[in-house]
Symmetry: C2
């Protein structure tokens, strides 16, 4: 029986966040045991912020919560995939639908994808 292996990487495992409808990969966050429990309890994706070193309920500032629809674990128990409904449509703090809005073309990174909001209007009110 597989279980989440939180110990492998200092208590944190990566969680790939995928749009449940379009299947676009929106972001990759990290979860510790506490954020995993909070994700299950609330039905909203909750991470451990490595930069702020605190629990991070995605959307707590912007209102752009991620409603969890399905959860998958990989063969060796060290990575999660969460299919979510991204409230508000934008996942990235820069206002783009996905954090993965740079596409590799001709040896460089080209901005692609859709900007849903202006971060100044969401975070600096």
């Amino acid at each position: 029986m597989v279980e989440i292996d939180f110990e492998k990487e200092n208590g944190l495992i990566p969680a790939v966040i995928q749009d449940a409808t379009t299947l676009e990969v929106l972001m990759v966050g990290h979860m510790n045991r506490e954020s995993w429990q909070k994700t299950l309890e609330t039905g909203r994706a909750c991470f451990w912020s490595r930069t702020r070193k605190k629990l991070w309920l995605k959307g707590e500032t912007s209102g752009h919560f991620q409603e969890v629809k399905e959860i998958y674990l990989d063969c060796d128990g060290d990575t999660l995939v969460l299919k979510v409904n991204p409230i508000g449509g934008a996942t990235c703090h820069t206002g783009f639908r996905s954090c993965f809005h740079h596409k590799y073309e001709n040896g460089g990174w080209k901005i692609v994808g859709e900007r849903i909001f202006d971060p100044k209007e969401v975070y600096e009110k």
Copy 2:
């Protein structure tokens, strides 16, 4: 201009591997600068194996190479998404189409997904 930040996590960045056609997440591997270069040169996904501590051209043993179709980088340059054509149809060393073949249901992990090959026939010949 965004660039890949290999230094953030000891020279390794996670790479989410997604089926270019079905958009299913197949696996998450890790790349260092050398495997990134080899991926670009060969057009096939190449990782750094953290367990074997060596360069790992995915498919070199099984023949199940991943032909890279598109590459995306996230907002802070520390995670990649590769859309690939998975030769042979199976990504997981256990023979499943995806490494993420455990689904969370009723408090536990249920095996889901399709097994494409028997690992004994591929690896123990």
